[in-house]
């Protein structure tokens, strides 16, 4: 199993986490674990993140780190890994949000290092 997939699998062992995926900022899934309809999730979340980023830049509200979407029984946490990739974690409401956030922060650091090595800032494989 590659290191990136392993990080996603580890996230999915946290109680209450239903699935995790990495999307490229072009909206196409890079890697996904236990997420049915991951293509829809990737496209929509990349667009949401992109729109939020525009708004934040234009209003001078700092640097975007992430977004959380809450439904009646789920939480979707979207975090920028770097300029080219974002991590999406889907949890149910029984999850401990603080723990999930902590683990996401750790996972992001590992993923960023790993992906910088292979893909750089652009998301394209380094040759």
């Amino acid at each position: 199993m590659n290191k990136i997939k392993k990080v996603l699998r580890n996230l999915c062992t946290i109680p209450g986490v239903d699935g995790a995926l990495i999307t490229k900022m072009d909206g196409i899934t890079f890697e996904s674990i236990y997420v049915i309809q991951h293509e829809i999730m990737s496209a929509a979340m990349a667009a949401v993140l992109g729109a939020a980023n525009e708004m934040i830049e234009k209003t001078g509200s700092g640097d975007l780190e992430g977004i959380m979407i809450e439904t009646r029984n789920k939480r979707i946490l979207v975090s920028k890994i770097n300029e080219a990739f974002a991590l999406i974690v889907i949890t149910n409401k029984s999850s401990k949000l603080g723990l999930v956030r902590y683990e996401i922060k750790n996972a992001k650091e590992i993923l960023n290092k790993e992906m910088q090595l292979v893909y750089g800032q652009t998301g394209n494989v380094k040759t």
């Binding site: 490229k24 900022m25 072009d26 909206g27 196409i28 293509e39 829809i40 496209a43 929509a44 990349a46 667009a47 949401v48 992109g50 729109a51 980023n53 525009e54 998301g123």
Partner: protein, 162 residues
């Protein structure tokens, strides 16, 4: 082995028929239809899986209020389709969208939509947008399905030739 993934984006001004075009292409099976009322406010998405590749078709909002989404959705695209509403003609918004696409330096196909309602000559569109002769322009009716597949396949062919 994983199939190559191709992202194409459908641009066009408000009511130029982008959602109808994508719906016709996938026989109504949109993966996402981000509209409020009758206008697209976020994005449309459709996925076409063929033997050679998997194509992701993104539809942009047409309203200039949401024009910041054009660049957001254009990220990583391999080709673009620009829809012109033949009942309206070439507008300032069309020119603005075309300039954006031109700056992205990707293959482009122009579709003059609603040709069942009004004939807008391709030569007029080419002149108004100052398109070079290599850019293909098709008459199309997204509603009737006329040339819908041709527009899509023509762009895919150009992307493959890149």
């Amino acid at each position: 082995m994983k199939k190559p993934k191709i992202k194409i984006v459908v641009f066009g001004a408000l009511n130029s028929g982008k959602t109808t075009f994508i719906e016709k292409l996938v026989k109504g099976k949109l993966a996402l239809k981000g509209e409020f009322g009758e206008i697209t406010t976020s994005l449309d998405l459709a996925v076409i899986e063929e033997s050679k590749n998997k194509t992701f078709i993104f539809g942009t909002p047409g309203h200039t209020r949401f024009k910041f989404m054009w660049r957001v959705l254009a990220k990583g695209l391999k080709g673009a389709i620009l829809l012109i509403d033949s009942t309206v003609g070439v507008t300032e918004t069309d020119r603005e969208i075309y300039e954006l696409i031109r700056s992205l330096n990707v293959p482009l196909v122009v579709a003059v939509n609603k040709c069942d309602l009004n004939k807008l000559p391709a030569s007029h569109v080419r002149k108004k947008l100052d398109l070079n002769s290599e850019i293909k322009i098709f008459e199309m009716s997204a509603l009737k399905g006329y040339n819908v597949k041709k527009v899509f396949e023509s762009l895919l062919a150009e992307i493959r030739n890149e």
